[in-house]
Symmetry: C2
Subunit: 342 residues, 2 copies
């Protein structure tokens, strides 16, 4: 009897579900119209219904369990969310036990950035490496650490909050109560904020025009302007690259890992921020200078995955390769890893 | 037959050696007059001679191996030092193989800050915890990570370079080629430098007088002045505390460990820098704010070691308890851990 696991992604806008076999093949997937930020009980109802639908379509296979990637800080000792601004009503609610009770199968709750890191480690940009660190540039900035194939959780499951590492002591205030967090410079939200600040300064006419013309103005538009030569837009991405470079240099000095993966929606601006990022990592990490792989702003996954690159003891910074599926695939990996020990 | 291991500390001024049994009891120790920075072959000769002397005195016990704590960056794959400014001539020399050949026993080479972290984890401030992180404030600033009782090495053994984490993007230049490294604010060298800068500014008359009067002026003197109410000296320690606070906040956000230990000679100024340090950690880490243990600037080890504190899932920042022996004890722990798996 073949086996499979179900991954659930609550990290995006809509609830998404996939059935994945132990080799990583996606057997089935459902993208629901359920808004993740809607009523908690509604989201859980729809999730259970979608899981049952997938189960019935794969009735000849055995379900190992369900992994759920959740945007928020999870307390692993209680299986509850400690902090989840994007999931109203989920805090201090026994979500894991509730879903286990309803579906009669083992449920694994995981922070969505950790799940994405595990996905990239299993089947993406970090495949073949024992350990990796991933930074996810989304609405916020998330982080995940995978050591010897397992997510590093720390004492309570809160490890990997790379988005809240300080990169500018008296920098922009952050929702976490601190200032100058990486998230304030390297998230899609931050890119939009910095572009808006530039427009308001009166010194960025093209950005100002774009904001006026487009009610859906976002970080992708800033990227387009930067690539078309708009200096204020390029300056925004220099700040993104500087912040990422300082954070990565610290991570490299602390971890000495073989690979650091950058993903999430705002990583689509790779070409705009990486020239500065690589320059700044070099400046702030002598371990990177001593051990870095040949790099280019367009460095991509294919070349890195060659066996020679895998065995060489060099430090790599590379772009994620699974796109929006990283969290879904990583979530499905949780029950596979726990139940099969593979 | 009882067993023991030998720890060697090359991290200080003189070569020191201790024989330690598997319970951590020091059976014998030799502090030689050999200057660690002297001729490489002379240091190795004296080390081998001292090890043989200890062995002959403990002839009825079995030697498990020798652990050596070394100031420098070790490449674990070659057993050689990659960078060791304080050990002239040791770079790219097969020190591990050479000592194994001469003494006929297994040799484990380790960075001295990693060895100190392991020592504190085994018998010191972090005893009883599975994982810990240690910052050593010495001539430079070292770091060590112990996860599940083992030193975390990263890809090449270079992990834990916490002294070179950036705490001020455009800060003081560092010997590593970067700027604003923690080491430039929290080492004994940095305390002396910042005090000298204050004296040279003309606004710190008591510091200027102390420097003039005392050819051996050092960080301990700055501490004495700070504790006696000298404002410019207190300002030096506010900078120490700010830098440590920013670095610790980052480490807490990344690792979510139960305990962070601060040791090394300059940690003797604990009372002078910790009020600022705790304030800054609170400011920059919401994980610390959410999980911190009750703290006080005089927080000491005794209270933290109670069983209730050990099992409580709180974040602790505490002072090291083994003093100058941490590295020696940690070095001896290496063969015990490797040979007995305990």
């Amino acid at each position: 009897m073949t086996t499979f696991a179900i991954g659930v992604d609550l990290g995006g806008t809509n609830l998404r579900i996939a059935a994945v076999d132990e080799s990583g093949k996606i057997l089935d997937r459902i993208t629901t119209s359920t808004a993740v930020g809607g009523s908690r009980d509604g989201v859980i109802d729809d999730m259970c219904q979608a899981v049952r639908a997938v189960q019935s379509r794969l009735a000849s296979s055995k379900l190992l369990g369900i992994g759920i990637g959740v945007p928020g800080i999870i307390d692993l000792h209680t299986g509850m969310l400690r902090q989840s601004p994007n999931l109203p009503g989920w805090e201090n609610y026994p979500v894991q036990q509730e879903i286990e009770r309803r579906l009669g199968t083992k449920v694994f709750l995981e922070n969505d950035a950790n799940a994405a890191a595990l996905g990239e480690q299993w089947l993406g940009a970090a495949a073949g490496f024992e350990s990796s660190c991933m930074i996810t540039m989304g609405t916020g900035v998330g982080g995940g650490l995978v050591f010897d194939g397992k997510i590093f959780h720390g004492m309570l499951g809160m490890a990997g909050e790379i988005g809240h590492v300080n990169v500018e002591p008296e920098g922009a205030p952050c929702g976490c109560g601190s200032r100058g967090c990486l998230e304030q410079y390297a998230s899609a939200t931050a890119i939009k904020r910095m572009a808006t600040e530039a427009a308001n300064s009166g010194l960025a006419p093209r950005l100002a025009q774009a904001i006026k013309d487009d009610p859906n103005f976002d970080s992708a538009k800033v990227y387009d302007l930067a690539m078309s030569g708009d200096a204020p837009s390029q300056e925004v991405f220099r700040r993104v690259g500087t912040a990422l470079g300082i954070a990565l240099a610290g991570l490299i000095n602390i971890f000495n890992l073989p690979i650091y993966v950058i993903g999430g929606g705002a990583a689509a601006s790779w070409d705009a921020f990486t020239p500065t990022m690589f320059e700044v990592v070099r400046k702030y990490s002598y371990i990177y200078r001593a051990t870095s792989a040949p790099e280019s702003p367009r460095q991509n996954v294919g070349t890195d995955r060659e066996q020679s690159a895998l065995t060489a003891k060099v430090t790599r910074i590379t772009r994620a390769s699974l796109g929006g599926d990283a969290g879904l695939i990583g979530a499905a990996r949780l029950p596979i890893s726990a139940m099969l020990g593979s």
